[in-house]
């Protein structure tokens, strides 16, 4: 991990309130593994926003690092106004990463909303080592879709769900995933998305391993502040930033 000043290459809206930011960093592009995140100082010497903001790395391309984000508060709002050539101070790569190996059977990747961001590079890596990958993506509505073309290129099967049914399957992506679990012989699943979605996946009691990437409010991103602690299954404390963000779903209290 390093503290880096980087220059923004591009920062564009790719869907309703969803942005994709890229910057050049040979170090991060090389050190990055799917699941890692960075802690970005959005404004230097600012008192509001004060803290760095954590963002998962969506993917890297040559020396460019791509960060997808949704505008939800003051930090992301200011970030969305940044232009090509503006600098950002970035701390990373942080956290652990998804397990990437050749699995003896199909792999399921389940993403919801902004939880989809870290899953794109994961799919790339899973395919690189020869896996067959089914991807399940859940959005609110057709106008919220992003990364669909990119996932189409990499997934063996791509299943889109929307809450309002404006495209793909109407309803919850986990409900749809559940039907496929009965039909397919998955060996492992990876997921990232809102907590209720991850809880729903946990309650499926999948007959195979499932790894999830979690999110909590954090200050430092390196395990010092203990703000992002979550309970493990034995009432032990785990830290999303340093023990995670990727956990075995059965090992955490969600």
């Amino acid at each position: 991990m390093k503290l880096l000043d980087v220059e923004i290459v591009e920062n564009k809206m790719i869907a309703n309130g969803i942005y994709l930011l890229s910057f050049e960093s040979e170090y991060l592009a090389k050190a990055f593994k799917p699941g890692n995140f960075v802690n970005i100082l959005i404004e230097k010497n600012s008192i509001y926003p004060l803290l760095r903001r954590p963002f998962s790395i969506s993917f890297v391309k040559e020396n460019k690092v791509f960060i997808g984000y949704k505008v939800v508060g003051i930090g992301t709002q200011i970030l969305s106004q940044k232009k090509k050539g503006d600098t950002l101070n970035v701390l990373g790569p942080l956290g652990n990463s998804f397990l990437v190996e050749r699995f003896d059977g199909k792999v399921a990747v389940v993403g919801g909303g902004v939880g989809i961001f870290p899953l794109l590079s994961l799919c790339h890596e899973l395919k690189k080592v020869g896996n067959e990958v089914d991807v399940f993506l859940g959005f609110r509505s057709k106008s919220d879709l992003f990364f669909v073309d990119e996932f189409e290129k990499v997934a063996d099967n791509l299943f889109i769900s929307t809450d309002d049914g404006s495209i793909g399957f109407k309803g919850n992506t986990v409900e749809f995933f559940k039907t496929k679990v009965g039909e397919e012989n998955y060996r492992v699943a990876f997921s990232c998305g809102p907590k209720p979605m991850l809880s729903a996946i946990k309650s499926l009691n999948l007959p195979f391993k499932c790894y999830v990437s979690l999110e909590e409010k954090m200050a430092c991103g390196i395990g010092a502040c203990l703000c992002c602690s979550i309970k493990g299954k034995e009432d032990n404390m785990l830290h999303v930033c340093s023990d995670g963000p990727v956990f075995d779903i059965m090992e955490v209290d969600i």
Binding site: L41, L51, M218, C220, I222, A224
Partner: protein
């Protein structure tokens, strides 16, 4: 130029990592040189391991952050076996921040820990626990009693960390001094609250938490200044220090050393920037030492 002394303990510079913001140093050591710190005040330790408070534990407000970590820590045994040997590798003074839920627990911790560290910081000010902490720290009689008992058994100098959540912090400072404290540190976080107007729920699960960051600095400066008038023991000042300028203000108000906390999250290089800034300030203003600044405010 930067060296300061507190009750015989020599700090090579007056910058100390504030408890609760720096873990046990291990995490930051991957990023910065811990030798840069004059001292490190460890994450608050208790006799037994504690899991702390439920999520969400953190929210950001204008000019600061509210946390309710609730003294999550691995307990004193793990501190001594796993964390302290690591910290001892660095050329920095180790201050163990201790927390009890009774006078007896403070005494027990002091007995176990004090022979192995440079100083104890008796935390009578944590706002995020139901027992002990700030509950003790608001009562001058309790501050006196606990400090006195801890002093009796402590093998190293004792700092008492005070809470700002009182009408008159100087009463607590005087109680600590009277009981034999070697120094006081102030301020701990200020009890605070924030509400999400969309969900109408508090942003912290425990409803209230402790506010830190630049928003609390003027309050901290005032309290250091007031305590400096009332006690003779050294004061370690903290609360919203983001730059060397803030640090200088604390020295002028009466602090002998400073602790930096929230800024570590924002700018891990703050320690070296503040150190260089203090040095330059001293040179530019014709002072020979940090000691020349302590309480050197012109009213």
């Amino acid at each position: 130029m930067l060296e300061v002394e507190i009750s015989g303990v020599k700090f090579k510079n007056p910058i100390i990592a504030a408890s609760g913001t720096f873990g046990f140093g291990r995490e930051f050591s991957k990023l910065i040189d811990l030798n840069l710190f004059g001292g490190i005040s460890t994450k608050g330790i208790t006799l037994k391991k504690r899991t702390g408070n439920p999520q969400p534990r953190l929210c950001e407000v204008y000019g600061g952050i509210i946390n309710s970590v609730g003294l999550e820590n691995p307990g004193v045994e793990a501190f001594l076996n796993e964390e302290l040997p690591f910290l001892r590798r660095f050329d920095t003074k180790i201050i163990a921040n201790i927390n009890g839920f009774s006078k007896e627990e403070f005494v027990e911790l002091a007995k176990i820990v004090s022979p192995l560290v440079d100083m104890l910081e008796v935390n009578l000010s944590c706002p995020n626990v139901k027992e002990g902490g700030m509950v003790f720290g608001k009562d001058p009689d309790k501050v006196y009693e606990i400090t006195k008992e801890v002093k009796k058994v402590s093998a190293c100098p004792v700092i008492v960390k005070l809470t700002p959540n009182v009408t008159d912090i100087t009463e607590l400072a005087k109680a600590a001094e009277k009981a034999g404290a070697d120094a006081i540190s102030l301020i701990n976080t200020i009890s605070a609250m924030a509400i999400d107007i969309e969900t109408r729920r508090p942003l912290i699960k425990m409803v209230t938490g402790g506010l830190s960051g630049p928003a609390i600095k003027p309050i901290a400066i005032r309290m250091v200044y007031e305590c400096f008038q009332k006690v003779k023991i050294p004061i370690i000042g903290m609360g919203g220090i983001m730059s060397y300028k803030d640090a200088i203000e604390f020295f002028l108000a009466g602090a002998t050393a400073i602790q930096i906390g929230t800024v570590n999250f924002v700018n891990p290089n703050a320690v070296s920037e503040i150190q260089k800034g203090i040095e330059n300030y001293l040179k530019n203003h014709g002072f020979e030492s940090v000691k020349d600044l302590i309480g050197n405010i012109i009213i």
